[in-house]
Amino acid sequence: MDQFEPKIVAFVCNWCTYAGADLTGTSRLKYAHNVRIIRFPCTGRIDFLLLQQAFAKGADGIIVSGCHPNDCHYTSGNFHARRRWMVFRQMLENMGVEAERIVFSWVSAAEGAKWADLVNETVESIKKLGPYHKYQDMAKSLEEWEVTHE
């Protein structure tokens, strides 16, 4: 069997982490290729339903990252996001979801190296956890249902 290559989706804000990841590029720092970045104006815009959707669609890990507290381009979006994630993460724990597959982080526009480390560490940790079969098996029910309800 080939080595497991996790699928990782990153939800990042435009002003800090997206720019930080740009800096990783301009600094030519290398990191694992498993991550795909989706750009949001602000972490405040990230709906928890999108995280559910990502797992349902087969993501093995998720990165959510934005501006450090007090650095939000919109002043407070990241503070709202922080509360949302505090509650959502606890909710996932309560329902038995492997919440550590979602990595939350603050990466500023100046932290190109932190972004590279964050991706690498996330890929490593998800590799250790293996594919998220449990969630993906549950998600298969949708396909089956769609077949029977065509």
Binding site: L49, H80, M91, N94, S105, M138, L142, W145, E146
Partner: protein
Amino acid sequence: MNKLKEKAKELLSSGAVQVVVGYEEGTGGKIRPAFVSRPEDADKLLYNADCHHNLALYLYKHETKRIGKMAVVAPPFVLRSILILTTEFQLEEDSLVVLGVTPEEELIEFANFKEIETWVNQHPIGMKEKDREMLNRLNAMSRDERWQFWQNEFSKCIKCFACRGTCPMCSCFRCTVDYNAPQWISVGSHQLGNFDWHLMRAMHLAGRCSVCGQCGEACPMDIPVHLLSFQINEDIFKMFGSRAGLTLKKESLLSTWKSNDVENFIR
């Protein structure tokens, strides 16, 4: 309880309200919500520990509002719901007479909502023994066991949405689950659709739930959905020191923040 009946009669006959929303005995001795609009019918009103319906549900619906000014029989969880709905602009103080009833089945009248706020802060709601036990059991489980537990429970879900229908906090008339562009939650009652639905519902109630437990009561498949809200309610209290339905301040948990919110997972 006679006091309650008398008060209801008085309110109706004086024309102070047009309808009293309360509880009555229904078929098979089961309690059901009652809508009393004639003074002579007030005698059928009752209140006891079996009254579990969260009557706050009816206070903002067109169907009841149309009748006129309302009075509501309000056990503690209804009082909390009233406060939450008020902070969310779904209720107006002057359109409602609140007939509070204590767990000791005594009538308390409130001159205004401020008094309700004071009262609910002095009278915490305890959890039922059965629910406390279940939560302890769930917390004692490993995470995988919890996953399995909920997977089993959700497998019973038939997406009848009784849990939503009976909850006063589900005040939206178009729920996200009914939204198809995009289709956030699959409509089918399969494992994923059910899981997504219950997770979303619990999230939308986080910081807004009056812990009445009515969603669990209403479930025809006996899924203890209310435990999701009960547990997060406890977690929220631990994290933020607040509970829903104790304030008239217009600030919901997730619509506010503090710069010193403390988490331990953001890198």
